[in-house]
Symmetry: C2
Subunit: 761 residues, 2 copies
């Protein structure tokens, strides 16, 4: 096996110091001379007809530079899936959720903009509203979009094998229903975009926090009615996204752009925190109904899932999200027969987009809670139950996922061992419990062609400077890329620099980070670009020493003939030699990677949408206070298969963050509405994000597989590491006090009520 | 001859609209969160010992974040020529000119910083000062630098042939003495730099208006004591420079950096206008003594020049400037014998750097005034006089200049013809006169290796995006580069985009713009980069049509087999085909150009320091008001040899700007001091920049030569176009009223006094 210099080492992030020192510049920090401040007037009604909008008072307020409503902009419907566009930037005639943008203003300062919003008179005629997807599907429910009288926007349906036969052949069948609320991203920064349009050239620069600066250009262009080529995204490091910034079409983006187009000035819109918690598009609420049939020995004969997605008032990403869950459903378990029936249902709530791993997290909460109960019902240790039913390397799942690497068995075995599962299970003191959760996710999403490119420059001082359009939202892609380039060029990490800002006019194309695709996509592109530079330097040094290029090596800052360190020179000297050689300048290495990709079938979700898949298992130990229902997560042992470990620090950081996010989701978090559909959880305390005080001790295990597509065999992990926690906590609580809460979050009062109910019973 | 699509056409600047619309961002527009404002305490004394600096009061002023004096920073001497370093960032023990930086503060706002400056107590012991270089060279004059007791910092001396013999063989000898003041750049923006240092990473970002973002890094690094690799320059478009920004070592740059290093915060220093007119380093004051011997027929037998440069208190660029004038001295005229004796003399005035064409302009004022007088004395028409004595294509001058293209004869002939010189000379109404001036300058400076590189990206949308580190200070390099890339790729100008900001971490190396080197250096690099991209696209299209790459052509947005427009596709489709071809991505073209270069001999100035030389002649018509001495420049006819004309609009713009600058220098401008060496011309009105009202009618003639090194045969023109005006005006005034003013500016009162003096006599 190749000996690495940097890969696999615990090296700190090159971009870490500026971040913790407060020197990192975020889009919120950017200001331009003459810029205006935009604010958005949002619907106070969950469902209403707009009878009239009077902007005259707002327009005459001193300091107001523009007021826009749907009348003032082209009405272009947009949505994630082509052909399924159902939304407009500003509401046309009707509002469908509380918070929907109705009008917007640009003014010389924020106070004036806020005051102007108050001066806009909108006359609404309220309509009956519906907030629960099961209610929405009932006959007679309010119709949200005329084209969808049953409020079912789409239905993903897939049957594999013969589920009814599977149930018939089962010894035991269990059904469970779960509900999970909408989860918000709760990023440190609030969303922000500053649009700067020059009417005379029709050029638009978007200073943005979007995850999709390149692929988002044509989408935004379509909405604005300007050529995509004229749009430039400037995207600094982003202070957290988790999927919430994976768009360029609405709210801060489109509205700031329209306001800038109207005023000819830069217009900045920055959400206040309450907007971040009420109109940011989070992870959809799900209603999940499982039915599983098993043999006595634990063999799963049939699995069935009714997966109801509350897509909110507009479709946005809900269908793709649901399609992905179709193949994720049996990514770990391999039943002979399977049915997945997943309506995507309109309600009068805020639309969803995604939070880290889509709705795979609530799906997993339900699925692995359900399976835990089945194992218990059968009297089989869940560890054994799972090991009997999981996929293995080389499998192709019924959803089309090709598992070229798959360490789920080993994850389960390792996590059980490290957590002393067999010792502890059933033997813990009263009110303490232990639970096992599983998760699997895309480790290199690639549906529809995801291209990464990378450029490695070597400057006149011999400095290696990487240019990459990667998304850095805290995911350490920056460091991963620099490590790979350093490894390939035989340099120390501090000798590799990388662009801090992604400017689409300057930095080459990058599909960017989502679906845990960064490691494979950007890693491979960076590796190729570094190798291209290396090759060019090798040629110069080899010719100097009458050696063959293939015999050259780059290590410890030197380029030399393998085995003859004296036949070589420092990389810096090699750069000088290159620069004097008459070979092409500037010295640039190019690299790209586009994984083999499949589209998901729009009706079934079948298709291998990830070049690699990641797996994980977690064991969680909890203590429940029987007096209060309060739950303390004592410790988590997590074992993940992310392929080759490129840097344990990256993985631990990602894993710890993921576990805490899911702990929050399990115990505290969730969007809550009042009776009129208004979100009431609009702040950190009311929404319930966990803090350091709730963070348990975490032990990490890395099950190293070798993925044939990944750089050095690595896969993406940022999503999968977060998944098993939710079900593991639920299962541990049951193990502790025998109470099964099927609706997230598992709050103390729910547990207490359940304990009281059981006492009564 | 090749038919061009764009080259040679009057196409407007791609960056013009944003400029005139106020959308262009300059460094002064950049602000960062948490930034501090720096201010510089300057010496009020022209020459003094610093006895004590007490910063204690300033340090305790609320809002002050740092106060620095020379004690607080490493004392590293700097200067333009290696081995000749004589200056420090903050004065050590002694000040040598009014305005020399003594201390600096960083505070939360500008007012606090100003207040803090007033609280710094500096105790000076004044020393005798000297302001005139001839005075400074006299025995007993105050000594400014102990190592140079005669105040002569350096002496450039060159003799070619035998001057004394030349004089002996002459029929007529004339001597004249001229004086020219320091000229300031008077740019629209004032100098500005914001330094942002992160102590923990020792990385420094300089948001700067420097002309030398790349080559300036090692120089600044040396002063600051950090590695050059850790310095990043971010340089937006600059609102005028003319040479004043051709440094990175002192004043706003080094001081903002030191303040940022001390505070760990971004520190912005922006000159106020009075600083711009008093400490910006302009064009050195000269004292010029000419002695020329001629035959009766006008043949120049010997030319001698004593060229005294007032270098001010520190050397800076004065020696290089004087060295260049050594070979510029006989760039047009070709005497058999020549002597150039040029002391560079310290005085207690502000050091100089350069304004457009160095001190070639005052040299030309003196030289071509002197020659005009000689022609008159001989009774020979200056046109005929010059035509007898000028260099021709293929000549190598005594200073080493290789004239691979040289159109000076034709410039003189054309300008005489177009101005109706023969008709007008001696036949104008009273008080009107006509004068001829000449000029020649580097048209592609290249001493010591000036490398240009360029990158042409083609993005995922098929957009061509040029990355160039060129300096855009109004010189139209941006447009020139885009035109060349468009020409080579067969595109329209609007389909070629270019980076607006030069970020040394991202954009490849560029020596940048000075010495009129942009056209050849950047033009050739851009051409090569475009051809590299074109080649890659040709390969794909050729293979599609089974054609040979060499038979392909790019024109009107199409790439096709020459002569078979149907065998081809649009460039956008070719990009798509390329992207799908499996060839290296991202699609990048690389180009570079480094002209053959020679160093100037440090003692003689001999050496071919420009790959090409530009030439020009102007005829100016003036009217002098005999009652007031007031001079009105009625019209200018200018003929220039800039090689092939790439875009007449560029040349006209440059030429008009150059003529107006020189008109200002001839008639109004010049730094004036009070008796204590304090500059009193610290504003636009007191300094005397001409306005549109003083701008004459200008007629342009372009004498097209073909320079073998330039892109399509073009040469740089930005400096040469400005040169002939000054002597032409002086000669026209003499022609009008018979008055010869030998000390610039030729103000109305000087003319009036001379007229009165003549009346008396």
């Amino acid at each position: 096996m190749k000996q690495f210099s940097i890969i696999g080492k615990r090296v700190a992030r090159v971009d870490g110091k500026p971040m913790v020192l407060g020197k990192t510049k975020y889009v919120n920090d950017i200001s331009l001379p003459g810029m205006l401040y935009g604010k958005i007037l949002r619907s106070p009604c969950a469902h209403a007809t707009i009878l009239n909008i009077d902007t005259s008072k707002a327009e005459t307020l001193p300091g107001v530079r523009a007021v826009i409503t749907a009348k003032d902009i082209p009405i272009v419907r947009f949505g994630y899936e082509p052909g399924m566009e159902d939304e407009t930037v500003l509401a046309v005639d009707k509002v469908r959720y509380v918070g929907e943008p109705v009008a917007a203003v640009a003014a010389v300062d924020e106070d004036t903009a806020d005051e102007a919003l108050e001066l806009i008179d909108v006359t609404y005629k309220e309509l009956p509203a519906v907030f629960d997807p099961e209610e929405a599907m009932k006959p007679g429910a309010p119709v949200i979009h005329d084209d969808f009288p049953d409020n079912v926007r789409h239905r993903v349906f897939r049957e594999f094998g013969d589920v009814e036969r599977g149930f018939r052949e089962s010894d035991y069948i269990r059904e469970d229903k779960f509900k999970t609320p909408m989860i918000m991203n709760a990023t440190l920064a609030t969303r922000c975009c500053m649009a700067d349009f020059t009417p005379e050239t029709r050029e638009l620069t978007m200073y943005s926090d979007t995850q999709m600066p390149y692929s988002g250009k044509p989408k935004l262009a379509n909405i604005l009615g300007i050529p995509a080529e004229k749009i430039r995204f400037v995207r600094p490091i982003v202070a957290g996204s988790f999927g919430s910034r994976a768009e360029t079409c609405h709210d801060v983006h489109a509205i700031s752009a329209f306001l800038s187009m109207k005023t000819g000035k830069p217009v900045k819109i920055e959400h206040v925190r309450s907007e971040e918690f009420s109109v940011i598009r989070g992870r959809h609420a799900l209603t999940l109904k499982f039915k599983t049939g098993v043999k006595k020995d634990g063999t799963i004969m049939a699995m069935q899932c009714e997966h109801i997605t509350n897509c909110g008032a507009y479709g946005d990403f809900a269908i793709s999200n649901t399609l992905q869950n179709s193949s994720i459903f049996d990514l770990i378990l391999s039943p002979a027969n399977l049915k997945y029936d997943a309506p995507v249902v309109y309600t009068n709530t805020v639309p969803g987009l995604t939070v880290r791993a889509l709705t795979n997290n609530p799906l997993g909460f339900g699925l692995y809670s359900h399976m835990d109960m089945i194992a218990r019902d059968l009297g089989i240790d869940p560890v054994d139950f799972y090991l009997k039913n999981v996929h293995h390397q080389g499998d192709v799942t019924s959803g089309g996922a090709k598992l070229d690497s798959c360490g789920i068995s080993k994850c389960i075995q390792e996590v059980a061992k490290a957590s002393r599962w067999k010792d502890k299970r059933g033997k813990l003191p009263p009110n303490r419990g232990i639970g096992l959760g599983l998760g699997a996710h895309t480790a290199g999403f690639c549906s529809g062609g995801e291209l990464s490119t990378c450029q490695v420059n070597v400057d006149e001082l011999g400095e290696v400077r990487v240019l990459s359009g990667r998304g850095e939202y805290g995911n350490a892609s920056t460091n991963m890329i620099c490590m790979i380039v350093a490894e390939e060029l035989g340099l120390r990490l501090e000798n590799v620099a990388i662009n801090d800002i992604v400017d689409t006019n300057v930095i080459p194309y990058e599909a960017s980070n989502y679906g845990s695709r960064g490691t494979i996509g950007q890693g491979r592109a960076a590796m190729a670009a570094a190798q291209d530079v290396r090759q060019q330097l090798f040629e110069v040094v080899a010719s100097r020493f009458n050696a063959k290029v293939k015999d050259m090596e780059a290590k410890e800052g030197q380029i030399f003939v393998k085995g003859s360190p004296d036949k070589g020179m420092s990389l810096k000297d090699a750069v000088k030699a290159y620069n004097d050689s008459g070979k092409p300048l500037p010295l640039i290495g190019r690299g790209s990677y586009e994984p083999p990709s499949e589209d998901m079938d729009f009706n079934t979700g079948v298709g291998n949408v990830s070049v690699a898949w990641g797996f994980g298992a977690q064991v969680v130990e909890v203590e429940v206070d029987p007096e209060t229902g309060g739950i303390k997560v004592l410790n988590v042992v997590t074992a993940n298969d992310g392929g080759t470990v490129l840097n344990p620090l990256h993985l631990e950081g990602s894993s710890e963050g993921g576990i805490v996010m899911s702990l929050g989701m399990a115990l505290f978090e969730g969007v809550q509405y009042d009776e009129r559909g208004r979100i009431i959880t609009t702040s950190f305390p009311t929404y319930g994000v966990p803090t350091a005080l709730q963070t348990p001790e975490i032990k990490h295990i890395w099950v190293e597989t070798y993925d044939p597509y990944g750089p050095y065999g690595a896969k993406g992990v940022t999503e999968v590491v977060s998944l098993p926690t939710t079900s593991a906590i639920a299962n541990a609580i049951y193990d502790a006090v025998g109470v099964r809460i099927k609706e997230l979050p598992i709050t103390a009062d729910k547990v207490l009520n359940a304990l009281k109910g059981r006492q009564k019973a």
